[in-house]
C-alpha cells in the first residue's frame, strides 16, 4: 500500500453534507468497471451534466481545483453503502486526503485500507480551512501525518494504529496472518466453550 507521510497539494472545498457512497460512485460502476477506471465516474451525478458534458459548477471541474489531492468535505461524508469503490473512485481522481467533521463509519475504515487519510476536525475548523482554500490567493495545503498538522498550525488527532498503517504503508492482512498461532489458539479454546459455533 502507498505510504502517506507529507502531502502538499491543492485543497478543494466541497462542504455538501451527507454525501453518501451511492453518490460518490453509482452502483452500476461497482459491477464491472475496473478499479483503475473508477476515478472517471467519481461523483458523476454532480460532475457531469445529463448530456455527459462536465458540469462547470462542480468544484473538481474548476481549473484551479482540477489537480486537488485534498478535499474539504461536509459532515458525515461517505455515509451509506459499504462499497469500497467509493474510496477507490476518489483515489482514482488523485485525492489522497479528506478533511471533514465526520464520516460514514464503513467508508472511514475503508480509507485506511487504501492509503487515504480521512482527517476529522470540528466543523468550524473545516469551514475555516474551506474558506482559505476558496480564497483567490489560496496556496497549496500541507498535510503532515508525522506531526499531525495541516499547514503547520492546525493539529488533528488520529488513532495510533491508523497513523502507523498510513505512515508505513502497512498491509493489515499480512499483519494478521503473522498472528495465526493466536487465531488457532482462540479457536481451540472457543471450540470447547461454544462448540455449536463450529460445524
Amino acid at each position: 500500500m502507498n505510504k502517506f507521510t507529507i502531502l502538499t497539494a491543492v485543497a478543494a472545498p466541497y462542504l455538501k453534507k451527507n454525501v453518501d457512497t451511492d453518490f460518490i460512485i453509482r452502483v452500476e460502476r461497482c459491477t464491472g468497471t475496473p478499479r483503475e477506471q473508477l476515478g472517471n465516474y467519481a461523483f458523476e451525478m454532480a460532475r457531469f451534466l445529463p448530456g455527459g458534458a462536465e458540469n462547470p459548477e462542480f468544484v473538481l471541474n474548476q481549473p484551479r481545483y482540477r489537480n486537488a489531492k485534498i478535499m474539504l468535505c461536509g459532515e458525515f461524508f461517505g455515509t451509506g453503502s459499504s462499497r469500497e469503490m467509493a474510496v477507490w473512485a476518489i483515489a482514482g481522481m488523485g485525492v489522497r486526503c479528506l478533511i471533514a467533521p465526520s464520516y460514514g463509519q464503513i467508508f472511514f475504515s475503508n480509507c485506511f485500507q487504501n492509503g487515504m487519510l480521512p482527517i476529522t476536525l470540528p466543523a468550524t475548523t473545516v469551514d475555516a480551512l474551506a474558506k482559505e482554500a476558496a480564497s483567490p490567493d489560496a496556496k497549496p495545503f500541507t498535510v503532515d501525518l508525522e506531526q499531525q498538522t495541516i499547514n503547520g498550525t492546525v493539529r488533528f488527532e488520529i488513532a495510533p494504529r491508523h497513523r502507523k498503517m498510513l505512515l508505513e504503508g502497512l498491509d493489515e492482512i499480512g499483519l494478521t496472518l503473522a498472528l495465526e498461532p493466536k487465531i488457532a489458539a482462540f479457536q481451540a479454546a472457543d471450540r470447547a466453550r461454544r462448540p455449536w459455533i463450529y460445524p
Binding site: N18, D20, R83, I106, W196
Partner: protein
C-alpha cells in the same frame, strides 16, 4: 463485578489479541457473502495466493445482481451472469456452501442468514454489505465491511476493530394501529439524525421492542446504519429461541440446550451503563414517510413538508408547507432487506385484498427469499397482489439498490419499503419515499401518498 452491556459481553468473548490503543483483533464466527462484494474478495484472495481459512464458517447467496423478473434464473445482463458464475465457481472451489438461484435458502443475505439459522445470538457476523447490522436483531454483533476487510476475513477469520461507544435506544409505549417496526425506527432516525449513531453500537430496548416479532426486530436493526451506527442489536429472548429452533444451520440436540444456556447470559446486566441513551414514545407515532433525500428527512404521514432543505425539496419535486399526503406517485416497491419478510407481505396484502392498484401506478412485490416466496404463495398472497395489478417477482435486492438494472425511471416518484432515499439511489433522478409495507400498499391503491389508517380492514 461491573454490570456489562450485551455489546461488551459479546465483544469481549471474541478478542483474539489486543492490538493496543482500543483496537482489537476479533474472531469472526459467521461470514455471509453475496455475489457482488463476495466475488471481488475472492478474486483479491486469489491474487494474493492465499486460501480461505475457514470456509465452513461462511455461506453465500445470490441477491444483488440477480434478475427478479418472474421466472428469471440469472442476471439481467451478460456481465451479471458472468459475476454470478465467478462467485459460484470460486465458492465451490473454496468449499463454501452457496444457496443458489432457484434453491431453498437463496435470497437477500440479510433475510436468509436468520431464515437459515446461520445468524445466532452472541456471534460476530460480518458481510460485505452495510445492512449487515440487520442480524443484530437476534442478539448477534454484526456489521458491514468493505472489500479489503472482507478479504481479511476470508484469509484470517478475524477483523481488526476499534471498540465503539454504546447507545441504548428505548422504544416505550404501545404503538397505535398500523404503526410498525419501520415507523418506530424511522422516527428515531428523524429524531437524532443520520449522524446520531456515528461511533456507537446501538442496543434497542423497551416494551415496544419486546412486543415485536423477529421480523419486526430485523427491520429495526436493519436501519441502524441509516442512524450512522455500524452495529444495532436486540437482546435475545424466548421469541428469538422459538424463531431459531429447528432451522437448518441452528444447533440441535444437546448443542441447542448448551447454546440457549449461553444465550441467556448475553442480555445487558441491570445497571449496565451506556454512553448515551435515547427514547421514543411509540404511542405518539403516526405512520412515518420520508420527504427528502436522507432517511432523517422523515415526518408523520399527517404532517406537512418542511422547508429547511431546499436542495432536497428541489430534487424531490416537492413544495414546503404542503401536506405530504395527496402527493401523486408513479411506483411502489415492496421488498429489500428492510421489509420483504412474510409478515411484511401479509401486512401489504391485507391492505391490497379486494382492491386494485391505481391505473397510473406500477407496483412490485419482491419477496426477500425463495422460501418466503413459496410460503407466501402457499397462503395465496401472490394472488392477492396479482389480482390487484401488482407484479409478483423472484427474490433479490432489486429496486432497493438497482445493481441488477431494476430502476425507477428519472423523475418518477416511488413509495418504497427499502432503506435509502439518497439522490439517485433507485435510479438517476428517481424520487424515493421510504415507508412501511402497509403504507406502500395503500399508496399503490390510492395512487398517492395516503395515511394507511384511513383504510379499513
Amino acid at each position: 463485578m461491573t454490570a456489562k452491556t450485551m455489546f461488551d459481553k459479546i465483544w469481549d468473548q471474541h478478542v483474539v489479541e489486543d492490538l493496543g490503543d482500543g483496537v482489537q483483533l476479533l474472531h469472526v464466527d459467521r461470514h455471509l457473502m453475496h455475489e457482488l462484494s463476495g466475488h471481488r474478495g475472492q478474486l483479491e484472495l486469489n491474487k494474493r495466493g492465499i486460501g480461505m481459512r475457514n470456509p465452513e464458517l461462511t455461506i453465500g447467496s445470490m441477491d444483488h445482481v440477480v434478475s427478479t423478473a418472474p421466472g428469471a434464473k440469472g442476471g439481467n445482463a451478460p456481465w451479471a451472469d458472468n459475476m454470478i458464475e465467478i462467485f459460484r465457481s470460486e465458492s465451490r472451489q473454496a468449499g463454501v456452501k452457496v444457496y443458489d438461484i432457484g434453491q431453498d435458502g437463496q435470497g437477500i443475505v440479510h433475510v436468509v442468514g436468520p431464515e437459515l439459522g446461520f445468524t445466532l445470538p452472541g456471534v460476530t457476523l460480518l458481510c460485505g454489505d452495510s445492512h449487515t447490522c440487520t442480524h443484530g436483531a437476534l442478539g448477534a454483533l454484526a456489521w458491514g465491511i468493505g472489500t479489503s476487510e472482507l478479504t481479511h476475513v476470508l484469509a484470517t477469520q478475524t477483523i481488526v476493530q476499534q471498540r465503539p461507544k454504546t447507545m441504548r435506544a428505548r422504544f416505550e409505549g404501545k404503538p397505535g394501529r398500523a404503526i410498525t417496526a419501520k415507523d418506530m425506527i424511522l422516527a428515531l432516525i428523524g429524531k437524532i439524525g443520520t449522524a446520531g449513531g456515528v461511533g456507537y453500537a446501538v442496543e434497542y430496548a423497551g416494551e415496544a421492542i419486546r412486543g415485536l416479532e423477529m421480523e419486526g426486530r430485523l427491520t429495526v436493526c436493519n436501519l441502524s446504519i441509516e442512524l450512522g451506527a455500524k452495529v444495532g442489536m436486540i437482546a435475545p429472548d424466548q421469541k428469538t429461541y422459538d424463531y431459531l429452533k429447528g432451522r437448518r444451520h441452528a444447533p440441535s440436540g444437546a448443542l441447542w440446550t448448551q447454546a440457549v444456556e449461553h444465550w441467556k447470559t448475553l442480555p445487558s446486566d441491570a445497571g449496565a451503563k451506556f454512553d448515551i441513551e435515547h427514547s421514543i414514545d411509540c404511542a405518539m407515532l403516526a405512520p412515518q414517510i420520508t420527504w427528502g433525500t436522507s432517511p432523517e428527512d422523515v415526518i408523520g404521514v399527517d404532517g406537512t413538508i418542511p422547508g429547511d432543505k431546499p436542495e432536497a425539496l428541489a430534487y424531490m419535486g416537492l413544495t414546503s408547507g404542503r401536506p405530504i399526503a395527496g402527493t401523486k406517485i408513479d411506483r411502489v416497491f415492496i421488498g429489500s432487506c428492510t421489509n420483504s419478510r412474510l409478515p411484511d407481505l401479509r401486512a401489504a396484502a391485507e391492505i391490497v385484498r379486494g382492491r386494485k392498484a391505481a391505473q397510473h401506478v406500477k407496483a412490485w412485490v419482491v419477496p426477500g427469499s425463495w422460501r418466503i416466496k413459496q410460503d407466501a404463495e402457499a397462503e395465496g398472497l401472490h394472488q392477492v397482489f396479482l389480482d390487484a395489478g401488482f407484479e409478483w417477482r423472484e427474490a433479490g435486492c432489486s429496486m432497493c439498490v438497482g445493481a441488477n438494472g431494476e430502476l425507477v425511471e428519472p423523475l418518477a416518484r416511488c413509495v418504497s419499503t427499502s432503506n435509502r432515499n439518497f439522490v439517485g439511489r433507485q435510479g438517476p433522478q428517481a424520487r424515493t419515499h421510504l415507508a412501511s409495507p402497509a403504507m406502500a400498499a395503500a399508496a399503490a391503491i390510492a395512487g398517492e401518498i395516503v395515511d394507511v389508517r384511513l383504510f379499513s380492514h
